[in-house]
Symmetry: C2
Subunit: 1001 residues, 2 copies
Amino acid sequence: PEEPVLEGQPKFDGRVQPYKDMDTFPRRHIGPSVAAVEDMLKVLDPPVKSLDDFVKEVIPPDVLSDRSINIPQGATGEADLLKTLKGIASENKPFINFIGCGYNGTKVPEVIKRNVLENPAWYTSYTPYQPEISQGRLESLLNFQTMVSELTALPIANASVLDEATAAAEAMTLSLNALPMSRQKRANKTFFVSNMCHPQTIAVLASRAEGFGVTIEVGDVLADNCKRVEELGQDLIGVLAQYPNTEGGVDNFRTLAEKVHKNGGTFSVATDLLALTVLTPPGEFGADVAFGNAQRFGVPLGYGGPHAAFFACSEKHKRKIPGRLIGLSKDRLGDSAARLALQTREQHIRREKATSNICTAQALLANMSAFYAIYHGPNGLKEIAGQVIGMARQLQAAIIEAGFRTGQRGKMDNSPVVFDTFVVETGDKTQELLKALEASGINVRPIDANHVGITVDEATSADDAKLLLEGFSKVGGKVSSSNLQEPVSVEPPTDLKRTSPFLTHPVFNSYHSETELLRYIYHLQSKDLSLVHSMIPLGSCTMKLNATTEMVPISWPEFAGIHPFAPDWQAKGYKTLIDQLEGDLAEITGFDAVSLQPNSGAQGEFAGLRVIRKYLEQQPGSKKRDICLIPVSAHGTNPASAAMAGMRVVPIKCDQVTGNLDMEDLKTKCEKHSEELGAIMITYPSTFGVFEPQVKRACDLVHQHGGQVYMDGANMNAQIGLCSPGEIGADVCHLNLHKTFCIPHGGGGPGVGPIGVKQHLAPYLPGHPLIKTGGEKAIAPISGAPWGSASILPISWAYVKLMGGTGLTQATKVTLLNANYILSRLKPHYPILYTNEKGRCAHEFILDVRKFKDSCGIEAIDIAKRLQDYGFHAPTMSWPVANTLMIEPTESESKAELDRFCDALISIRKEIEQVEKGEQPREGNVLKMAPHTQKDLILSEWKRSYTREMAAYPLGYLKEKKFWPSVARLDDAYGDTNLFCTCAPVEGAGDITGSMAPSPT
Amino acid sequence: PEEPVLEGQPKFDGRVQPYKDMDTFPRRHIGPSVAAVEDMLKVLDPPVKSLDDFVKEVIPPDVLSDRSINIPQGATGEADLLKTLKGIASENKPFINFIGCGYNGTKVPEVIKRNVLENPAWYTSYTPYQPEISQGRLESLLNFQTMVSELTALPIANASVLDEATAAAEAMTLSLNALPMSRQKRANKTFFVSNMCHPQTIAVLASRAEGFGVTIEVGDVLADNCKRVEELGQDLIGVLAQYPNTEGGVDNFRTLAEKVHKNGGTFSVATDLLALTVLTPPGEFGADVAFGNAQRFGVPLGYGGPHAAFFACSEKHKRKIPGRLIGLSKDRLGDSAARLALQTREQHIRREKATSNICTAQALLANMSAFYAIYHGPNGLKEIAGQVIGMARQLQAAIIEAGFRTGQRGKMDNSPVVFDTFVVETGDKTQELLKALEASGINVRPIDANHVGITVDEATSADDAKLLLEGFSKVGGKVSSSNLQEPVSVEPPTDLKRTSPFLTHPVFNSYHSETELLRYIYHLQSKDLSLVHSMIPLGSCTMKLNATTEMVPISWPEFAGIHPFAPDWQAKGYKTLIDQLEGDLAEITGFDAVSLQPNSGAQGEFAGLRVIRKYLEQQPGSKKRDICLIPVSAHGTNPASAAMAGMRVVPIKCDQVTGNLDMEDLKTKCEKHSEELGAIMITYPSTFGVFEPQVKRACDLVHQHGGQVYMDGANMNAQIGLCSPGEIGADVCHLNLHKTFCIPHGGGGPGVGPIGVKQHLAPYLPGHPLIKTGGEKAIAPISGAPWGSASILPISWAYVKLMGGTGLTQATKVTLLNANYILSRLKPHYPILYTNEKGRCAHEFILDVRKFKDSCGIEAIDIAKRLQDYGFHAPTMSWPVANTLMIEPTESESKAELDRFCDALISIRKEIEQVEKGEQPREGNVLKMAPHTQKDLILSEWKRSYTREMAAYPLGYLKEKKFWPSVARLDDAYGDTNLFCTCAPVEGAGDITGSMAPSPT
Ligand SMILES: Cc1ncc(COP(=O)(O)O)c(C=O)c1O
Ligand SMILES: Cc1ncc(COP(=O)(O)O)c(C=O)c1O
Ligand SMILES: O=C([O-])O
């Protein structure tokens, strides 16, 4: 195969081959030039002659593959690639949509699109684990939480979950957890779900209920004055209803709520943020949980995702809320500051006792939705809601005029639509109508043989409405669309009408001009460190380049404008792209089939384990194979996913010295659980950053005992082109496209966690109730949309195509080199926790700083915070080993950047030494006081053991380029005990951006 | 007419009119809400009841018009507008271009497009007049200068001029200025121009030569061993040749250079940066000046502009170089820092003695080109050049094979093309060929009835080449395109081959990976204050919102991909857009015809005056009407433009008390010069920020004496919808679309300076040699491209359409209110220089700070620099009155922002008072030491009369949101005496971004 063109290689030597692309990508993606690689190989300890020799020292010989990836390499330049992709995109036909069903048209304000969605300073940041350099997106996520909390009238809201359907599942688990243990253990425990919920929500619930042994009962929750709720008695876990429901009905749930509560259950409501600007919010009619899709707040349809789902709950459930929660706390100087709250609820801590595995969520989309609310403000949102109701009512009246009955199924009484959706009884004219509409480029929702659903939204235009009515006219009586624009009453029925105010905080009332919003966006942005500033060496997170060419297509209307339930022939471009990407990922991983449905790595784990279980169920054998072996070093989502899939987790020890799997322990456990062995979950290279030599043996062992091998592919960046899960022996593996395949982290999401499987598992890949996808014996869906977060798949597609097999392989080699280069430079200064017998790590390694706690009281957190003063994001802290730092540079970092980072850590080592030697005090030294803010340095009376200069500019480059933390070190304990998860009251907010400007003199 | 929807107006009241757009624009563009306007009217001194009453106090009754602008208002929202515009854009048909002629295809690196061209932090900044908060773009422009200087091998290069054709004109004037005065005065002084220059260059030269009394002689400059150069003797001003020339020939100019020099002339060369990577640079064969279009370095064709033209010259001409020049100097702390050098050369100082009127230039495009060079580096650029040569040679060979002769006209000897262009003798097959090519979507350059030109570029693909050859095959012999990709020698002839290195500075060799480039772009960006941070209250500059929706379309390929000399039927979308925009601007200004050709305000002035002169020449009367009356308060470009148009400037006094035109003086001058009176140039409202009551009388007076009225429309933002140049009595007016009509300033350009004219002047509107435009008796072109900077016209088009007549009028009212609000708040604290008899200013006003010089030694510059510490850009300094500050807020600023700005100035007034009272010293006080950098506050030993806190956080809001100057106050004198205009040598550059990282330990 042709070699990729790398930086430093091309030479102009008098003869050229014309039409060779000059904008080839591997040299843009890979940081070190050819010359730098040479230099780095020499600096390695011990030095190596060539990159290939080096690779042989890193990867065990029986793991290293000689297969080369068969993907034509990126000889095609970036410009050509975009042309090709435009061709694929143009196979998509975005129709005018009246489909609804949880996904609506929206007008993305251009100022938000350009400055958030298309802005690397927003999309390349990581989850705000380091609050001092993340206050911008933390404030924005707090705005999101405030928006959700006020619109739902529930006090606690989180910073987004993956989608509406999984939010329903989270509501179910929260309800289960809220029960006394005795009730949790009942055999027939039942979650009672309204048949008026979206079908995809019900399908995803089914997939989640299984593992918890929960029965999902779908029915009319209000029937006979909620009789069934009472009947369920102690078996009731809770009730889920939808408001407005999937067919547009809006019911008064007060009585239902009372009955659920009386019966000790939890009442959850799937809802719509726009509707809540005019309808009584769930918190005011007794709901304990409210959730839904925030997509219509300024996030494109994108064929189903990514969008931010929201999740809110009452005070009493606040410590059970799934996903990430932003809370206010105080910093060292006593100033208010936001950070991730209640981290102790997360899976790392609860592991196999966790009932949620959400890790990556939808931060970027949540931010977009929050800015949308800020841009429109409460009045603007209400106005949009009014428009939507008005349009729906006019359309309904016209369709009635055409001779059709409207309403919801079972209630076709033509009473005025309350919000945005109604059903039309089209009877035997249904097919004819659908044909007529199709000819005009219109999609409605085909509900059954005799009914269609109509949903309008902010983006519905008068022309769209006219076309729709023309369709109805063709098959029914004549209607005129001339009175479409006449004023119409949009009042909801009195008992459903919202009377309480919302979004009263200044943040929702100050930035309605574009200038003000733009400045607010940039002000927040200025507080956040992202890849536009410096390396983010977070181990296990793979913070590589998210190239612009990869990002550009996701804004194209051909990708952004497709409804997930549009007929498949309208989405041929997506199909081409998805087929190619699945094929390429299968080629890369050595698997036979791939599903792109899971929208995070953790969702991939859950999907993969469910596929395994389904497969195992079909095999001969008397016992349930529900044991899942998981090394103690595993990422917290592994045991959490296993538990959610209904598996019993058995931990496998790791060798204390090498970090490798304890093969003896593995053997013992395999033998012990032989008949019940379902799977092993292993991460490769291990979470300790080492290519374990015994991995194939471990796979064999598990297979011998009838188990399947699940590989966590978070570390796939270390494998591509050099080895593969399929060849190593895995049966399933998830990939994090938001790590290895260049989807940006977006400040904590979105992500895509596809799974690859061997042939025998392919029939079980997840399906979908509305759109054909997955295997013939498909498990129930993992996500609400058939292909999860489809609209960001072009990113990974473009990456793979631009790099080609050889480019990808080269990237892997350099990613290994970059990690080992840092390791070699730091080894004289810090202990390194685990390496292989050649002293090499994989693509990441653990810096062991534990001894400093004894020697001078310095802990990993102090080093992490001090790194901020040097302009760097901290490595992964205290995972997988407490009080250590795990460093992963990726191939995109140049030697110059790696050197700056090493210099920073070496300089910090000297600062530690000063404390060790007693030259600096154990408390109040430059590490303990880190990070240092401008305010701290400028305002504080200076009585410290170090100078201001030492605090701010410990190395020379900082005088030229310095990123400042915007707050001093956060007090986590204070925040968790005084949980406060909405925007700070105005007194605290200060006069940030003018809302508090003094009145005129 | 319908009223625009304003922020704070819409209410949700139970009934709605469906399909009313919710994303209406006036409320997004205009800063203050309806409620804020109410509040502000009350704060005015004296207060006013209504906005309309207020307007009557500002605008004289006989000037205030009751005509309302007939442009349908922006009921259409932003999303709809983009749909409409997409429809217009799709009328454009971007062909594959082999036209060349100064405009080439290029691949804009996506990382640059997104993060520079599409980034408001880059495009909304102003010309870097305040270097301390502009170091980012200053460094980038220095990179541009370095790139040009090294590629041309000439020591001094400027920071861009408007286009290649005007650059030729600047070369001519520089040559003229370089002559001894005696030769400058010769009647037959001649600029000898190669007939192998681009035709548009020669046409623009003609338009410029007239005013200077220069004869342009076009001919073969090398003929008979340069005989004509010798013949011209003392009449020779200089010679202009093109290299490579317009037909692709590359000549050795060494002998020519010697002969020009021997004859005391200046040798200028129009050239191509890409060619100079492989060809001997002009500086090495004796050129004194080299210039050209930098467009092919990463700036789209855009139907002709905007692009950055470059201009370089030898050491001896450095103080004559036109346009802006960035130079290095030192700041207060002794650190190296960049700033605008040699400002004393500019027109403000030289006025009617100026020979160049360049003010707005092409900063944003220059930055794009510089980043392009940084991204590719010297090797990458050379490789691209090699490709281009290779492609050209392969094509040439194939076309010869098809039976055609190739070369340049007069030299069709089939010798191998040296760079990218060759001419084909197509004889009687020309029309057939053109038809065949058209059918394949291909443009070549039709040179004459028997010849076509072929130019290839970086964007030419093998498919393009195949299509081209198929066309030739159809009309000639068969050629195969199968060997197109075979290696080919691309060596230039030895005597033309470049041997010297270029772009050796680390900046061109460190940022070749996308990650590194992205961080470099963001690092520079972080040093610049722009509209994303705060108000930029520059008087006369109109720093209003550049809305995203306005900006989005300029990246569309339908606008970006059209060659300016493409047949007009391929540019129908542009035609529609241009016609509509011209119509709307005529409606707004009260004129009959508009030309969009001038690409800056100053170019508009020059165009307008030439139109006037041409008109006057055609009128009866024995004397030349060449007197131009210009008030002493006029912007420096006015007298400079008049001089360039060959007019004699007679200054008109202004009243010392009111600032108004001295009507007596005007009358006297009119009478005195009655027979020779050509024109008056007036700015309205005046540059003092007042609507002069006598303006109509002044116009009448000039008309009575046979003169024409030229209005400088820089202040048009104060007029729209309330009065108009046409109704006031002007015959011509230029508009700055980059002020009033929302084209962003781009850090110093691009701009568009259209002129509107009354019917009698319409026949003279500028034409173009290659494309039909302008009036029937058109003057020679002002710009190289028929519609100047066509690709940014969608911005102004969108603004006008989004606002509609009523929105635009509302904006004008608020712009007047905003200025008067600040005036009223500041009046108790500072003297205001001029107001009308009601105490009102127009859209801007002058803060008179002159008295502080006496009272305590504080000057305008100290206040300007101190404002930086408060997070604000300074108002316009010392213009139009020395040592004052002129403040213009625009309608886009909210009340909150205006209040912050007023608070800052009031707080500064208190700081001044402390110096006046002796509480602070006259030297070394917080104003004199301003601005304060982080380094200054953190590193300095603190022995000042004020605290660090007072320096950094004089007001509370700064603790939340603080923009830091990146260097301390600049030393201008040092820089001008030690002129240094390329990148700093490496020792000085420090370890900014890693190129200097320490080597591994
Ligand atoms: C090893 C490992 N497994 C699984 C995950 C979970 O992936 P996600 O965050 O996409 O759910 C992570 C995330 O960082 C991880 O590092
Ligand atoms: C009053 C006035 N006239 C003319 C000009 C020149 O316009 P341009 O910079 O576009 O050449 C300006 C620019 O600031 C100006 O303020
Ligand atoms: O997000 C992680 O847990 O790494």
